[in-house]
Symmetry: C2
Subunit: 367 residues, 2 copies
Amino acid sequence: MDTVSRKTDGMRRPTIKDVAERAKVSLKTVSRVINNEPSVMQATRSRVLAAIAELDYEPDATARNLRSGTPFVIGLVYDNPNPYHIIAVQNGVLAACRETGFGLQIHPCDSTSPLLAEELAELVQRSRLAGLVLTAPMSERPDLVAALVARGIRVVRIIAATEDPGDGPCVYIDDRDAAYEITEHLIQLGHQRIGFLWGGPQHRSSAERYAGYEAALNDYGITLDKHLVIPGDYTFDDGFRGARRLLALREPPTAIFGSNDEIAAGVLAAAKSVGLNVPYDLSIAGFEDSPFSRQSWPALTTAKQATEDIARHAARLLIGSLRQDAYAEHPLGLSNQGFVPQLVVRGSTGPAPLPRARAASPSSDEA
Amino acid sequence: MDTVSRKTDGMRRPTIKDVAERAKVSLKTVSRVINNEPSVMQATRSRVLAAIAELDYEPDATARNLRSGTPFVIGLVYDNPNPYHIIAVQNGVLAACRETGFGLQIHPCDSTSPLLAEELAELVQRSRLAGLVLTAPMSERPDLVAALVARGIRVVRIIAATEDPGDGPCVYIDDRDAAYEITEHLIQLGHQRIGFLWGGPQHRSSAERYAGYEAALNDYGITLDKHLVIPGDYTFDDGFRGARRLLALREPPTAIFGSNDEIAAGVLAAAKSVGLNVPYDLSIAGFEDSPFSRQSWPALTTAKQATEDIARHAARLLIGSLRQDAYAEHPLGLSNQGFVPQLVVRGSTGPAPLPRARAASPSSDEA
């Protein structure tokens, strides 16, 4: 009878295009009927509604939620072990929500769950969320993002990238550039053996920060010693353990770059646990400029990541796109934006110790 | 014509009782009509609906939200400067939400705002929240709680109290008892001059912790020296500043009890900044058992407050009361519950230094 497959005929979900074809009207007309706009003739409206019923078509989740008169609420999805970081992200998103009268639902999750797309889709439907702000590592899983978009869920991603990947709404943080700067700072202080402690490999930021470290060593002609590079997660405990391993090397590093401030805090504790004086015996740098980095003794050299601003921009991007639908007269008119964390030098980094200061070895008299 | 005042006649809002009187039916019948239950005769239903319209009566917010088919979402209200604490509270509430399919909206606020009741009522209405978990200090402002309850908003409070105050659903934490234990621990280590740094005075927990400190000194016959008690807030910075003041005294304390772990972390930094060795020169205790207390060097003696469990119980209490309305067959059957934080001894507290170890004064030879 027609070429449009019914939902029951196969896996493909009917689209708005199928409805338009079946009702023999334009896409815009279907959209007007769905949005209950008055400018559609009754006969046309009936034809569209009949096509929607016959095809068992469901308009996308976002449109449905906006139309239903449900309060405007967005969701924030995260899987991050660092309370300071999460609170900063929440506060940034909340700032955008407050500007626009939106509410915020939070949804910590397990980023490794194979059913994450289903879990998030159910969350959006059950709580009628207008859209999601996805943080890393969820935001950096193309399969997950595609599955959500296919379900008609509007997402904005916060990702680590040197430039806009051009595949949808996002805020991107140039972790590589900032990590390069930190490493360069250590090299310029005379450090040649610089340890690097990775964050969680599922976060693209970890690889980006490592790439910045590697590039700086390379540019300054320092050979990368693989023994100085330790895998781990973005936690204090992994910082402590990793630093203990590095400090037990026959030739320990004179500086350690922890991939975030929690890791660096663990390095600081490890240094104290073996009686090292920071920064005289060992320089330590972190990443993020969390409150802890200012409160430790000595305070940590780090890269100031404007986490609240980044999260706020992501939420404004999401809300702006929703309002363009709902209130076309008040678009926020925002676009994707990049952020580069800035080097902040504090007391935890200093000149590399002279060789003789570290060990009274025969070779030390060369200094 | 009748004795029931119209909404426009005065400030008093019409109640369900007014509707029942006007329609000449029982309260239960009005409730059945509001809840759209089938067991009401059509004539009765019409009379009740007419009375509701004439009185401009609005059923309470919770009932309205549950009835409207809106997703079940509760709100968490807080004003606390401590990220670790907030994340623990959120995680506890989220655990209860996950058990029951509820969503969680978060709402940090300014506890000193004179319009807080209006702000929260608007939040509940706009986001159609089924109820609120109130943390301190909001939970400890009787005027605010009364204003919310008067608006038909269901609240469960997390408060500091030695026993159930018996004025509504709450979870109460016996901060006083735990603070007594910490102070006793310090006294038993030989400390006689024990500094105390207050948390924010708007939190009842601050006064309770101070009361525990005072009671322990009293029981052990130690005269309270007012110079050793410093006001402040639950922050690292106030801990740092307060400790610097105490350590600059002509007769400084040999131990400092910070009202929470953030304050104690500030004390630790202050001690290091003046070259003191913890715990040999100075013992330090905190309160809460936050991750920081385990990560500092040395780790902090503290009172383990089961923040996640406390928050989870509060949320279950709230959700249970909602479900008793909505699903009378599945009440969670919970009641108010008290928690007593437990002393955890770690490396930051040790024996009081002998007088001669602190200053080579003439009186030191008495030791």
